[in-house]
């Protein structure tokens, strides 16, 4: 199957993708989407609009297409070229950020593909990009491997909530010891932070299923759990406002959003156990 590669003039990440393909001996058909290949990319974009993400900064390149599959961004493109769709869970969309690659989800992929993931991240790292990983605590073995191999310049841990509600908040069975192990590992990366979104959770009220927001006491319990798992009450811990519009669960779209100001009480509660807790700037 032929490889179609859309690049952009002066795009360093496109150069990294081409270097990867050259090393693998992969042939491809390249079009400069903002140069001579503009018309060709326009046709492609109109035909695959839903598969190509256009963010605030525009479209991230490279965009790679092969056999009906489309991958956008250098990490996703390399992952496809190396392992087909087997790394899809690990690598998602990355918001363009100078010198950094994000969208690297440690918790979401198949841990059996860890070696392949490390291969892709190692290539990106050797070519000068910094790696931002994220995790919700699952797959601690993968996280540990990446830590050992120096394949994470920054880790953001989405600490979903307190122990008792963790599986419900993740929406899947979770081994809580995995989460605790991940917390401890995260704190060993060069740069890291822990975040909790003050999210709605299903609750039974009066025999009926209802939805309520996490309580400040539950955020305090989360902060305490973080202290116990990492041995420190000084972790960089941030609280975020839940955005109902982007919720994966349709039931949550109608939940009224909290104002950032409402998080002040949650921050106060969390600071009982994590003294550096802050409300994430721009959290809305």
């Amino acid at each position: 199957m032929s490889i179609l590669l859309f690049t952009a003039t002066g795009c360093a990440r496109c150069a990294i993708a081409k270097k990867f393909m050259a090393e693998k001996g992969l042939a491809y058909d390249e079009h400069d989407a903002i140069g001579a290949g503009k018309e060709r990319f326009g046709q492609f974009y109109r035909a695959h609009r839903s598969a190509v993400f256009r963010g605030k900064e525009g479209i991230e390149f490279p965009v790679l297409a092969q056999g009906g599959e489309i991958r956008q961004g250098v990490a996703a493109a390399l992952a496809w070229l190396q392992s087909g769709s087997r790394l899809d869970g690990f690598i998602g969309r990355s918001e363009p950020s100078k010198g950094w690659v994000g969208g690297l989800h440690v918790a979401r992929g198949d841990p059996g593909e860890a070696e392949s993931l490390a291969g892709v991240l190692g290539f990106l790292k050797r070519n000068g990009l910094k790696l931002q990983l994220d995790t919700d605590g699952r797959n601690p073995a993968v996280l540990e491997r990446l830590l050992r191999q120096g394949l994470g310049d920054r880790v953001v841990m989405d600490l979903k909530g307190p122990r008792a509600l963790y599986p419900a908040l993740v929406g899947a069975p979770v081994d809580l010891q995995d989460v605790e192990r991940s917390m401890a590992l995260v704190a060993r990366f060069p740069e890291f932070r822990f975040e909790t979104t003050v999210a709605p959770v299903p609750a039974a009220e009066g025999g009926r299923e209802a939805i309520r927001y996490l309580h400040p006491e539950e955020i305090a319990a989360t902060a305490r759990w973080l202290k116990e798992a990492t041995g420190s009450h000084r972790q960089p811990y941030f609280l975020r406002v839940f955005d109902p519009e982007t919720a994966a669960d349709d039931r949550l779209h109608s939940v009224e959003a909290l104002s950032p100001g409402a998080l002040v009480r949650y921050r106060t509660a969390a600071r009982t156990h994590q003294v550096l807790t802050e409300i994430q700037a721009g959290s809305a």
Binding site: G261, V264, T268, R271, V275, L276
Partner: protein, 486 residues
């Protein structure tokens, strides 16, 4: 500002029949919180208890702070805010706003309180009928510091001002961060440009821009504007003023938006031009219900140097580009922006502008409306507190005798008058009138008595003419003081 080398301190003027008599509390420089009576008698000193400001609460309680953060790392950060009883026992404390780990210092929670706070019950922290602060419960609004970065303002770290509500248990339950409302502050392009380059840079703690320097914060309290349907003046809304930007504003507690604002520019409407440029102001607050002038905004308009804008000869870079060498106390109708009452060098009886700087405090200072219509004015830099009548007569004057050892100044940040009954632990003091000393005849020991030993007459000399000896005209230049006079 011509000060004699020798002058009396303590109470210097006192007319008991025309004063609103009570105790006065203030932070005596590097000494502590001092409570004095009308004759200047020192009723009680809470030794080395800091306070920015100190306030007396009913029952003889005092509010202040146990200390200040090392100035190597912070600027005016109060470690805590405390309430102590008459015997100095701490009955309430707040410090859990930020966990601070300064190099070489013990890590600790700090309130980072500065300049102001308000205990529930009293919107402005001074006496008004039926609006007394709670002493055993209730929330406290605190003006605090927070270090932030906000590239829309400046690429450098900022020392920001926050307003926080703390419940009786010491938990922060509400927060307003000034920098998050930058676009609501009305800075023009020249000011924004300068702010980006120089946000009033301080060196302490590795450096930060004290870009606003909010120096007062109080609730509006019940008022006639809200009663008439103007929701900008909801009693729960908060008024603050900031000396570096010359802004006074009201924050809506529900939306956190700024709903009323004075400054930073005073040349954009006829009303503002008539009001004149307010510079480096302090203690802007709404006169509480039950006091003469209730609903109006009382401001100590310092003058001095403040603001961001275009360069001028007095401010070559545009930093602190508004300048004036006298102060004004203004009572302003917040709807029309008309001055209802004022005390400026003109009302003080000082020839304007040549002697205007005799009423001048370029920093700190305050004004408190009293129940009989008098106004207690702290002319802070010179350590002077005066009580003036509505007709501008001084009926009480006190000069602080406390000069700091580290800073040789007898400054008073802000003084408050409270009723005698708020301090039930002591008997009401005797009030003894202090007759005005005729300074033209007053001599210190060793000086010759007044009077000329010999007078000669020169034939043909003419009588003196008005202003004949002055090098500057006295009928121009004092627009803001003169046009709004009376």
């Amino acid at each position: 500002m011509t000060y004699p080398t020798i002058f009396p301190t303590g109470a210097t003027i006192y007319d008991p029949g025309r004063c609103w008599n009570g105790y006065t509390v203030f932070q005596a420089k590097e000494v502590g919180a001092l409570l004095i009576d009308m004759n200047g008698g020192e009723v009680q000193l809470w030794k080395e208890l800091h306070g920015m400001p100190n306030r007396i609460l009913p029952g003889g309680y005092l509010m202040g702070s146990s200390g200040e953060r090392s100035t190597a790392f912070g600027s005016q950060d109060g470690i805590d805010l405390i309430q102590v009883d008459w015997d100095g026992n701490i009955v309430w404390r707040f410090n859990q706003y930020e966990f601070i780990e300064d190099p070489g210092e013990e890590p600790q929670w700090m309130a980072r309180q500065h300049h102001d706070y308000q205990r529930e019950g009293s919107p402005v922290g001074y006496y008004a009928p039926g609006l007394e602060p709670l002493t055993d419960r209730g929330s406290t609004l605190v003006l605090a510091h927070k270090n932030v970065r906000n590239p829309a303002i400046c690429d450098k770290p900022l020392l920001d001002d926050t307003l926080i509500e703390v419940n009786w248990e010491g938990e922060v339950v509400w927060e307003w961060v000034c920098s998050e409302h930058f676009e609501e502050l009305g800075f023009r392009e020249d000011a924004r440009n300068l702010l980006f380059r120089n946000p009033n840079w301080l060196q302490s703690g590795g450096g930060a821009g004290d870009w606003m320097h909010i120096n007062s914060m109080s609730l509006l309290g019940p008022n006639r504007w809200f009663d008439a349907g103007d929701r900008r003046f909801h009693p729960d809304n908060i008024i603050w003023c900031a000396r570096e930007s010359n802004i006074t504003a009201v924050v809506d507690r529900q939306t956190s938006r700024i709903v009323w604002r004075l400054g930073p520019n005073y040349d954009e409407t006829p009303e503002l031009r008539r009001l004149g440029w307010i510079i480096g102001q302090h203690h802007a607050h709404m006169i509480p219900r039950g006091l003469p002038g209730e609903g109006n905004i009382l401001i100590f308009d310092n003058g001095g140097w403040a603001g961001y804008g275009s360069p001028n000869p007095g401010a070559p870079t545009g930093f602190r580009n508004a300048l004036r060498d006298y102060s004004r106390v203004l009572e302003v109708d917040p709807a029309s922006l008309r001055v209802v009452w004022q005390y400026t060098p003109v009302e003080a009886g000082l020839p304007f502008p040549v002697d205007a700087n005799r009423f001048y405090s370029p920093f700190i200072s305050s004004a408190q409306r009293l129940p009989n219509g008098n106004t207690l004015i702290t002319e802070g830099s010179g350590g002077r507190i005066i009580e003036v009548t509505a007709g501008h007569e001084i009926v009480w004057e006190y000069i602080s005798p406390y000069w700091g050892k580290m800073l040789r100044i007898n400054m008073i940040y802000r003084a408050y008058r409270v009723p005698y009954r708020w301090v039930p632990q002591v008997e009401q003091p005797q009030e003894r009138a202090i007759e005005r000393i005729d300074v033209t005849r007053f001599r210190v020991p060793g000086a010759s008595p007044s009077g000329t030993r010999r007078v000669v007459t020169v034939a043909g000399v003419l009588p003196y003419r008005p202003d004949a000896a002055l090098c500057v005209r006295t009928d121009v230049g004092g627009e803001t003081a003169k046009e709004t006079s009376g």
